[in-house]
């Protein structure tokens, strides 16, 4: 499950991720991080599900982080899209591809919501949701 974490300045300097990894032994992959001593934002992938995931999210929230679960992150307006492919290779998580009929397909499981495809689209057909 991909999760967006927002660090406020009160917690920005605390080793929250290290703590949760040590405590739970969960595999956590950092997909994107923008952190300053004052605040920050991070997209992480927690390799678990069910109650373990629920506990992990609960822990992150109790540590003072704003936690958003990421399901589908971008949306393609098929009316605007011309299937050019300009969004495919810039995608850093390789979530975008052509389907067999050359329609643009976005794999929600891979997408990290970085928004690079939004800028890459010459038709402004992609939006972050």
């Amino acid at each position: 499950m991909k999760v967006k974490l927002r660090y406020s300045h009160e917690v920005a300097s605390k080793p929250i991720l290290a703590e949760i990894i040590l405590k739970t032994g969960l595999l956590i992959n950092i997909l994107e991080a923008k952190l300053t001593p004052k605040e920050g934002e991070m997209v992480i992938d927690i390799a678990t599900q069910g109650s373990a995931l629920k506990n992990a999210l609960g822990y992150l929230r109790s540590a003072g982080l704003e936690v958003t679960e990421l399901r589908s992150l971008v949306e393609v307006d098929k009316g605007l899209c011309i299937s050019c492919g300009a969004c495919i290779s810039p995608c850093p998580s390789r979530a975008i591809s052509f389907d067999p009929s050359l329609d643009i397909e976005i794999d929600a499981k891979r997408c990290i919501g970085c928004g690079i495809c939004v800028r890459a689209c010459p038709r402004k057909a992609i939006q972050l949701i």
Binding site: I82, C84, A86, I88, P90, R94, L102, P122
Partner: protein, 504 residues
């Protein structure tokens, strides 16, 4: 070369519904299956297609006269400036002109799309008023049908093939070749490869002034060589013209490349009559036969270095190998639309709606492609830099306090650090020194920045100013080929010495 069939014979067959027409991709399969000889004997016409961003596109418009009439001097359509250096109510709307109120979002290409879709477009114009044209301003709306003439007239479309793009630098680039990730993060390419109209008649034996084509969903004509036509390197181009009122919004799409600007995606399809074996053999060329150079777009030069020689087959596979790295690749042109154009053109011919037009003049087979020389001398780093004699240059072992005192005496901000041999190995700024004194450091090597951004004496000031802004720094040591310090250029030098000056 022996003629396989004449235009007259082909058109007779079309009229009788007997012409054998194949899209370029079907023709390739047929040649692979039955051999070139048999395919060339049986197939009369091969249809092609491409649908990509073509910046040298636009439309000539005639608005008709108002009461009282007006000589429009400045004119806008949906806030996009329209070229008015023509007669009173003639205008040219270029695809890359951008809206003055929504730049980088909406431009000439979008206006063309909106007109073709039948949408209402705002027309605004200004004039100084003359005895024959008294009106001085107007604001109204128009639709395509209101115009007397509306011609798509593109000086350069349908490049035979196009170089593809990657980025070796450590920052993301936004180009007309799309978004290029740092450190060879991706490759983008343009053109439709084995469907490309001009590549399928590589020797340009059937394409020329007067060739009838699919243009923007309607019928158009080739009206000569395109600008930058360079057929000897397989970069042939065509100029095209067609009536906007016959076209469709499906094949004319306004587009934006982030931080580059607006453009127009144009659909072009050309029927290639198989008049001889030479034309047949180039019509059968496959993606893997069409070489494409991958260029490094991080080099700010018109001669960008080639990173790799690739081809459309590798590029379309979605993955290109650069060095030992698998790099994702993706098109900017719509291959799906290119196929649909070739199919549509085939259907038009089969249903007798579209006859072939023999060109009245073929395109030239050779054209020099000249660069633009800057004949005035431009301001360089050497003109504005502080020469070595005015600098403090230090050694890594030097004492911080001693250097700090020299900085105060000379009132400067940057101290290049050099080796015994005089080569640049680091830099220290006044800020570094302030920090060092606070932290009680002793020698320069403890605090110097070792990765130094540099400049050359011969570089243009513009390029160096951009580099400073990119790295958020205020001064660059100027070095020679051996990394010996020749001087220092700072943003202060540029702002003080350059104000009000355009050339030396």
């Amino acid at each position: 070369m022996e003629e396989l069939r004449s235009y007259d014979v082909i058109n007779d067959k079309i009229r009788h519904g007997d012409a054998v027409v194949m899209t370029a991709e079907d023709f390739i399969s047929y040649v692979e299956q039955s051999g070139l000889e048999k395919a060339a004997k049986e197939v009369d016409i091969v249809t092609t297609g491409t649908f990509g961003a073509m910046c040298s596109s636009g439309a000539f418009l005639n608005f008709g006269h108002t009461e009282p009439p007006m000589k429009m001097i400045r004119c806008w359509l949906n806030d996009v400036p329209v070229y008015k250096g023509l007669a009173a109510v003639d205008a040219y709307l270029g695809a890359t002109a951008m809206s003055e109120t929504r730049p980088f979002e909406y431009g000439g290409g979008h206006v063309i799309e909106d007109l073709v879709l039948g949408k209402e477009v705002e027309l605004r114009a200004e004039s100084y008023g003359t005895d024959c044209y008294p009106r001085r301003s107007l604001e109204t709306t128009i639709v395509l049908e209101d115009l007397n003439q509306a011609y798509l007239y593109d000086p350069r479309n349908a490049y035979q093939r196009y170089n593809s793009a990657t980025n070796s630098s450590d920052r993301i680039l936004y180009t007309y070749m799309g978004t290029l990730l740092p450190r060879f993060g991706n490759v983008t390419f343009s053109g439709s490869g084995q469907l490309s109209p001009l590549y399928k008649d590589l020797g340009l034996e059937t394409i020329g002034f007067g060739t009838k084509i699919f243009l923007g969903g309607g019928v158009g004509y080739v009206v000569g060589e395109g600008t930058q036509h360079k057929p000897q390197s397989r970069f042939a181009t065509i100029a095209v013209k067609g009536d906007l009122r016959s076209m469709s919004g499906e094949y004319l799409k306004g587009a934006v490349f982030y931080n580059y600007g607006t453009t127009l995606y144009v659909g072009v399809g050309i029927p290639i009559p198989i008049i001889n074996m030479r034309v047949a053999s180039t019509a059968a060329l496959r993606d893997e036969d069409i070489q494409v150079d991958i260029l490094d777009y991080s080099v700010p030069s018109r001669d960008r270095p080639t990173i790799k020689k690739s081809n459309y087959a590798e590029l379309k596979s979605g993955k290109v190998v650069i060095g030992d790295k698998d790099v994702p690749s993706s098109p900017l042109s719509s291959i799906r639309a290119a196929r649909k154009i070739a199919e549509t053109l085939k259907r038009w011919i089969e249903s007798k709606e579209f006859l072939l037009q023999r060109p009245i003049e073929l395109l030239p087979n050779y054209r020099e492609f000249k660069p633009l020389k800057i004949k005035r001398r431009e301001v360089t780093v050497g003109d504005l830099m502080m020469p070595l004699s005015g600098l403090i240059v230090a050694k890594p072992e030097d004492d911080i306090k001693k250097v700090a005192k020299m900085i105060v005496d000379k009132n400067i901000d940057h101290v290049p650090i050099v080796s015994e041999e005089g080569a640049l190995i680091g830099i220290v700024t006044t800020w570094d020194l302030t920090k060092a004194l606070a932290e009680d450091k002793k020698t320069l090597k403890e605090i110097m920045t070792r990765y130094v951004i540099t400049a050359r004496e011969s570089e243009r000031i513009d390029d160096v100013a951009k580099r400073m802004a990119q790295h958020h720094i205020s001064g660059l040591p100027v070095v020679d080929d051996l990394m010996r310090v020749k001087g220092l250029i700072t943003s202060d030098d540029i702002s003080r010495k350059l104000v009000g000056r355009r050339s030396i």
